[in-house]
């Protein structure tokens, strides 16, 4: 489209390539004869042909795209739209919060913001569900033209409805959304559809996408299909099936795991180590299958590799085996397992994986590695990485109360900011008050206060403190040397407060 396509042009070009000193300018019937000769004549003709071709450019024909169905939802207000622009420009850490509020408001984003949001969701799968909701049908339509955005089509929306047509003849994305919609209203019917279709689903990624629907309204009757999925060819499918089965402690699968574990627990091994889990046999295919583990190769395994199988067994087996075997509660089990470090860690993992509040409380209350220990200066413990998962099964007021009790009123715990991030939102007013009290306290003399800790504390409060608690914060920065971090905290809270009002 960008060069003259006239009969003469090719001859002009070939003459120019050879050079007018070696080849005469051709006589061209469709161009006027020029008075000059040589290079000047050739350049004149080239200019003439170029301008002629540009001026004579003719239209193409193309197939118009099929327009999308109108989205009946109202758009977010102008203030919220401008705020999203500001967030997309340089406050992307607040994007998830904006998106979740917008998704809850039942409004859609301004259409022009859709490409930017899709681009971000393409890079960050954690945003996908909320982005799919706010971009709506226009976003799905748009993503149909760009493969990197294809994930949107398969994201279930609360407004989706089931139809036989979509399930029987739809695209993989449409089938997935139909199944999710049915699962929300009639879990049993959705399970029957999936069970019937399961053997014919040939693509692993699609099977996984469909199986994810069972997470909605998961119940004991789903165990059969999930158990079958443990034999799937796809490792991702097997992993998902195991994760879902872990939420069904009364399934046949769970009882088999209890059986394996009982076989491997040794009590009263030594007085110093009253309980331990022995290594599993790497050739036990039934056990490997039930834990979605790949059979190890032929080479000999290190101690860590062998323990890995036992660890997976401990984390996925319902924890009631332990209370039964040892005839004590979670606190007692942890006390007995304490000397066996790997086992203790695996039990803490199990509490997180199974989201069992009684067990995570027991881990958090542990005198030597619980929450009170973690906030102490110099404490280094794997539990800190797990803190979020340990707190997650507890009601939010309890989470806040536990952290509040642990930090007490004494010395400033190091990494308090990090611990507060694990609490999750929304903080209780009491927790906010305590954090503000620490922010407002003057710096400790002799430079003992850790400036990095103070800044992390500001950042944690900026992101997690309910913005309506802004009134607790004094307007003047309490520490001159940390003024910037403090003012940024106030600014972020004001920003979030405005954001909540707008949505």
């Amino acid at each position: 489209m960008n060069h003259p396509d006239t009969p003469s042009w090719g001859r002009l070009v070939s003459t120019a390539l050879v050079g007018t000193s070696r080849r005469p300018v051709p006589d061209l019937p469709d161009l006027p004869r020029r008075p000059g000769r040589g290079a000047a004549a050739l350049l004149d003709l080239a200019a003439l042909d170029t301008v002629r071709a540009r001026a004579g450019y003719t239209a193409h024909t193309a197939e118009p795209v099929t327009p999308d169905a109108p989205d009946p939802r109202p758009e977010t207000g102008p203030a919220a739209t401008r705020r999203l622009d500001a967030i997309l420009t340089d406050r992307s850490e607040l994007l998830p919060e904006w998106l979740s509020h917008a998704a809850r408001s039942g409004r859609r984003v301004n259409h022009a913001q859709i490409p930017d949001l899709l681009e971000r969701a393409a890079r960050d799968s954690g945003l996908r569900s909320a982005v799919a909701t706010v971009v709506g049908d226009r976003g799905t339509w748009l993503a149909g033209f760009n493969r990197t955005w294809s994930f949107v089509a398969g994201e279930p929306l609360p407004t989706d409805t089931y139809s036989d047509a979509a399930w029987n003849d739809g695209t993989p994305a449409e089938r997935r959304r139909a199944l999710f919609a049915l699962r929300a209203t009639d879990p049993a019917a959705a399970r029957s559809l999936l069970t019937a279709a399961w053997p014919r689903e040939s693509r692993g990624e699609e099977r996984r996408g469909l199986l994810q629907a069972l997470a909605v309204n998961l119940g004991p009757d789903d165990a059969g299909l999930l158990d079958a999925a443990l034999d799937d060819r796809g490792a991702n499918v097997r992993g998902l099936a195991l994760a879902l089965l872990t939420r069904l402690p009364e399934s046949a699968h769970a009882h088999r795991l209890r059986g394996y574990l009982r076989e491997h627990v040794r009590l009263d091994a030594t007085p110093r180590c009253p309980v331990e889990v022995t290594a599993t046999d790497p050739r036990r295919t039934d056990l490997l299958r039930d834990l979605a583990l790949a059979a190890p190769g032929n080479r000999s395994q290190s101690r860590d590799e062998r323990w890995e199988h036992s660890r997976v067994l401990v984390t996925h087996t319902p924890l009631d085996v332990w209370t039964g075997l040892l005839d004590t509660g979670p606190v007692g089990v942890l006390a007995l397992a304490e000397q066996e470090k790997d086992l203790y860690e695996a039990l803490a993992d199990a509490a997180c994986v199974q989201a069992d509040p009684d067990w995570t409380r027991a881990v958090l209350d542990h005198p030597r590695s619980g929450l009170a220990h973690l906030v102490r200066p110099g404490a280094q413990h794997p539990q800190r990485q797990r803190l979020r998962a340990l707190l997650a099964p507890l009601p939010v007021t309890e989470r806040c109360a536990r952290v509040l009790a642990a930090i007490g009123s004494g010395e400033e715990p190091p990494q308090l900011g990090e611990i507060l991030l694990a609490v999750g939102a929304p903080w209780t007013r009491e927790l906010s008050e305590e954090v503000v009290r620490r922010l407002a306290a003057p710096a400790e003399p002799h430079g003992r206060g850790d400036p990095r800790g103070y800044r992390l504390l500001c950042e944690a409060a900026a992101g997690r403190m309910p913005p309506e608690h802004l009134d607790l914060l004094p307007g003047e920065p309490p520490r001159a040397e940390e003024e910037a971090a403090y003012l940024r905290l106030r600014k972020t809270l004001r920003f979030r407060l405005d954001m909540h009002r707008e949505l």
Binding site: M1, N2, H3, P4, L12, V13, A16, L17, V18, G19, T20, S21, G38, A39, L42, L43, D44, L45, A46, A47, D49, T50, V51, R54, A55, Y57, A59, H60, T61, A62, E63, P64, V65, P67, D68, P70, R82, R83, D85, A86, T89, R91, H111, A112, Q113, I114, P115, G139, L142, N146, L470, A480, E483, A484, L487, R488, K491, R494, F495, D498
Partner: protein
């Protein structure tokens, strides 16, 4: 006649009028972040010395001292701004945020004012008094100016004569070896032209070896031919009309200063619609913004060009999707124009547009005025995104033009594939580049 906007203390602007002042979209976004009342512990609206009113405020920022921002809104003149922040944007985000707060009624009228506000206002007032009573700056000696111009024209003529020989040498010797030539082969000639003050021709020379791909012989011969045409046109001296002569001079690099354009350029009064703008890079790395305007009554096209250093955004003297009643002063080429005074802008309905064939006709007519034209504004009505070998924009007759895909996704997202009015720049070389789309409610979206 432009009606001065009479401002009383009670006369607040609308928030949209405030955002109109933003030099670019990023300023507005930045301003939004400080446009909460909490950022402004102290602020007020006071009458200004010499008329109008002043809005002032102290913005709590990240630094130890607050930023002191103020705006003087004086009905007949353009607003004046002051801020203690280091930003080079005018107005900066603090002033914008302050005015946005004021437009929402969140800045109180008061009588007292801090020392720094009083000092600034009284200094401004004194300067204005001097300007009214004193004599204007002496005009440049017309004879000297004419002599300077003649000297420049002689230099350009000499440079272009050398270029003519060089161009012919290239074609005489044959272009087959061109891809092997190093950049200095082209840069040497470009530098000679810069020395000869023919900057326009120089940048055309630097573009000669650019991205041809497989078709490099075609692209190179096209560019050589057009450059030769420019040389011939410039050196022809007579036989061309004054407008064409001005086009040739400006393409060669003889520019006219804005003050001169304002003083003696052709003035055209109309309701000017701002069709849209595109940013680009000049060959020497400056950022440029081309904004296209169209006169509703005269049908005249006008191009506003602004430049900035790489790290800064070029000024946007006009806001996309608005219209303004007033005068533009045109450069001698009859295309490039500058605004005369500050005329109020208002949101405009979608501009009248046409079909693809009409757009191509208007491009061809423009090419007759300026064969070196690179991009030309077109407005397509009821245009829909369409697909052939790539993405196109099609009109209701089914005719289409290939699109440059830079802003494709925003255009698709905004229209949903439904017919819309689209203002775009057309180039047969790079395709159709949408600048503005008007949505179903007639609201303009800058792409």
């Amino acid at each position: 006649m432009v009606l001065p906007r009479v401002i009383r203390v009670s006369d607040r602007w609308s928030t949209d009028e405030v955002w109109d002042l933003a030099p670019d979209p990023s300023s507005r976004k930045a301003a939004l972040k400080v446009a909460g009342a909490g950022s402004w512990p102290r602020s007020g609206v006071v009458p200004a010395d010499g008329g109008g009113l002043a809005v002032w405020g102290e913005c709590e920022g990240s630094g130890a001292k607050p930023y002191l921002a103020a705006a003087h809104l004086d009905g007949e003149k353009a607003p004046a701004y002051k801020c203690s922040c280091p930003s080079r944007k005018i107005p900066c985000k603090h002033v914008l945020a302050l005015l946005a707060l004021w437009s929402r009624g969140a800045v109180a009228d008061r009588r007292d004012r801090p020392e720094w506000v009083a000092a600034w206002l009284s200094a401004r007032h004194a300067r204005q008094e001097r300007a009214v009573n004193g004599t204007p700056a002496a005009p440049v000696d017309p004879e000297r100016a004419a002599a300077t111009l003649r000297a420049r024209e002689r230099a350009v003529t000499a440079g272009l004569e050398e270029l003519r020989l060089w161009l012919r040498d290239q074609v005489d010797g044959g272009l087959a070896g061109a891809p092997e030539l190093g950049y200095d082969h082209w840069d040497r000639m470009a530098k000679r032209l810069v020395d000869a003050k023919a900057g326009g021709a120089a940048s055309l020379v630097t573009q000669l070896p650019q991205n041809g791909g497989d078709r490099w012989p075609d692209r190179l011969l096209e560019r050589l031919g057009l450059l030769h045409l420019l040389v011939e046109g410039y050196l022809a001296e007579d036989g061309t009309d004054a407008r064409f002569r001005a086009v040739v001079r400006s393409r060669a690099g003889i520019s006219t200063r804005t003050e001169e354009v304002l003083a003696s350029g052709e003035r055209v009064r109309d309701t000017w619609r701002v069709l849209g703008s595109r940013e680009g890079l000049t060959p020497d790395g400056m950022r440029s913004r081309r904004t296209w305007l169209h006169g509703s009554a005269t049908g005249r096209w006008a191009l506003s060009l602004t430049y900035a250093r790489p790290a800064q955004a070029p000024d946007s003297p006009f806001r996309c999707g608005t219209e303004t009643d007033g005068e533009l002063a045109f450069h001698p080429d009859g295309r490039r124009a500058v605004r005369v005074g500050r005329t109020p802008e208002r949101p405009a309905s979608p501009p009248p547009g046409g079909t693809v064939d009409q757009a191509l006709d208007s491009y061809a007519a423009a090419l007759a005025q300026d064969p070196w034209l690179e991009a030309w504004p077109v407005v397509l009505e009821n245009a829909v995104p369409a697909r052939a070998d790539g993405w196109h924009l099609a009109d209701p007759t089914g005719a289409s033009l290939p699109m440059e895909t830079g802003e494709l996704w925003r255009l698709l997202a905004a229209t949903g594939g439904r017919p819309a009015t689209v203002a775009a720049e057309w180039s047969p070389v790079t395709g159709l580049a949408p600048m503005t789309v008007w949505d179903a409610d007639g609201k303009a979206l800058a792409l």
